[in-house]
Point group: C2
Chain length 351, copies 2
DNA sequence: TAGGGTCCCTAAACCGGTTTGCTAAACCGG
DNA sequence: CCGGTTTAGCAAACCGGTTTAGGGACCCTA
């Protein structure tokens, strides 16, 4: 018995029904052009043969894939465990789905993003965390693929969605200053490639600028030894804080660039027998879902993560579907959410 | 100025280089069959024309898409905010990436999963949470698309990955029994469609069976009014517990079918001025990353979520790439992780 | 000088659909 | 009974690549 039964094609159905391929195609996509009886007979036969139009062939003629790509410079396996990314994807998925598009995730293939892009069959791309100097951006543009950049802080010829990172960071810093803190450290995100490039343009740079500027206005000069870098995860935050602590730093306030890092810092603080916010205040960034269920509930800078995804897809669909000529730009706001991980600077500690 | 510059095709490159389409194709895929000089000249011209081989056309001839599909009966926008799913996806992504496959998420298109499946261009499918009675399974099989079922508890002709849900539930129930609890309630997951079908086969059914059986062995008969149903989220757990409480139930132990629900229950308990585990013990299920960072750290049933994703893709690749004739089945183990959300039954409460 | 091998490249078929133009038959009013 | 309009369906071109089968030029050998 030969189990490799070749796929049923439109020609098979046509032959079996004694009609032309055209008729079969019409039966599926344009039944009005056929006699009702013929159409349903064809459909019957197709059904009973188990015919399913090949989506790839269909794409080829229609020049449309029905999918939008999500481009990330990091491996998906790290990306999916990040709740921030989960919320962002949910935003993307929500409006993509409601418009009938599927989602295709594109990440570096054997280390090369370009290769991955060239293999991906999508009608357009939402790229997150790609700064404008990534060569991939040029590639995609030249290929004529619609694209919107998220968190790239650009206002160029390609559509974009951004968030006021610098303003958010200012809010966080301002908040701890108001509470009287003067000894502040920062937990910065160390992306896989953001690290190398000096990264003035990226999210990290913008947030850092916000922290620094506000602190400077209060006469506090943030030395480099008050900044620890690590991956945006609980472990990353814990380790980053540990390095600071072990280096002799005894801050009263911690500004973390992500909620996960903030949570990690809180754990590290607890591990050292200190309390939050009694001894040390901690401020996160992003305001992911679980920020309000941590112990203590996290004071953090809210950014509309899901909204970012939604806005990005709307912009993208606008260019895919040919509405609007010039590329759109959206900038979303941040705001401070004060919960219970921050408090006044402790008295007893007085130096 | 006309901005609709038609896409550059292989024919354009061929003409410009004064060679045949074949030569251009060879230059890209089979350079050895060309004179080295010619090949690099073609590549140069292609480069300078901005030529990018159309992936769709390529797929059509090669009968291979380079992507694997992830099938879920729920909307992606709900799925992505679920940390459980995030970990599962990370597992899938990890091995898919290392084998050079992209990821395509397939969810109901305008309410129809079949429609979505027919539009998706993938080499195979990992389906999660589809019980065997879903008609989609038959469809996919008839279409000859390689597939592996996850959490479907089947041993039929299609490959599958399962987890010992029933055993895990027994561990959870056994644990609280050992601590002396006799008044136990259950927080069950209410999927969008699991609810309607009686759902004996699904994950919910298996876990419920495990809880019930173990409780019964200790002489405890779990009445229906000791079970509350809700979505697998923090809010869902909080509300489910609230309904039980408001209905007059005063349990000393809560068995939740998901960590998120357990966390929700803990919040609801705190809201009512009770402590965990002082007054009430709570056991979760899944052991997602954040289970150990909650307050208090959650006692829960660990299942290898990420491992499930990995195993599924390995099985899938085996059939896609034609190794192994008969469909593989994997069953993964669960284990109890005791942290701090469970303790002995309280004395004072004595009924 | 015929025959056989390489090397480099090409024409044409093919993948599985959709779409365009066209034709033959049926229908219709006058 | 005739010109005009529908209706129903077909053949062939097309989408943009890959692959098969071969052809011409050149070199080598007998």
């Amino acid at each position: 018995m030969e189990q490799i039964t070749r796929r049923v094609t439109i020609a098979d159905v046509a032959e079996r029904a004694g009609v032309s391929k055209t008729a079969v195609s019409f039966a599926f996509n344009n039944p009005d052009r056929l006699n009702a009886g013929t159409a349903s007979r064809i459909l019957d036969i197709a059904q009973q043969l188990g015919y399913r139009p090949d989506p790839v062939a269909r794409m080829l003629t229609q020049r449309k894939t029905g999918a939008i790509g999500v481009l990330t410079p990091q491996d998906l396996s790290v990306i999916f465990t990040n709740p921030f990314f989960g919320a962002f994807s949910a935003g993307i998925a929500g409006v993509a789905e409601e418009s009938g598009y599927g989602l295709h995730f594109i990440s570096p293939l054997h280390g090369s993003l370009s290769r991955a892009i060239n293999r991906a069959t999508v009608d357009g791309v939402v790229a997150i965390g790609l700064t404008e100097d990534h060569p991939e951006i040029g590639e995609i543009r030249r290929a004529g693929l619609p694209m919107v950049l998220v968190d790239s802080n650009t206002t160029g010829e390609v559509a974009s969605v951004d968030v006021d990172d610098e303003g958010g960071a200012r809010l966080a810093a301002g908040h701890v200053l108001e509470l009287g803190h003067r000894d502040v450290v920062i937990l910065a995100i160390d992306g896989p490639r953001t690290a190398s490039a000096g990264d003035e343009g990226g999210v990290v740079g913008r947030r850092l600028r916000g922290y620094r500027a506000t602190l400077a206005e209060a006469g506090i000069d943030l030395a480099d030894d008050g900044i620890a870098v690590g991956p945006a995860s609980i472990a990353g935050g814990r380790d980053a804080f540990a390095r600071l602590w072990d280096g002799g730093r005894r801050p009263t306030a911690v500004l973390a660039m992500s909620d996960a890092m903030a949570i990690g810092a809180i754990r590290a603080i607890h591990d050292r027998g200190r309390t939050v916010p009694g001894d040390i205040s901690v401020v996160g960034f992003d305001d992911v879902d679980l920020a309000e269920t941590t112990d203590p509930p996290l004071t953090t800078v809210h950014q509309p993560v899901r909204g970012k995804g939604e806005a990005a897809v709307r912009l993208l669909l606008a260019v895919i579907e040919g509405r609007n000529a010039s590329p759109g730009h959206r900038r979303l706001e941040t705001r401070l959410v004060v919960r219970s991980s921050t408090g006044p600077v402790p008295r007893a500690t007085g130096r």
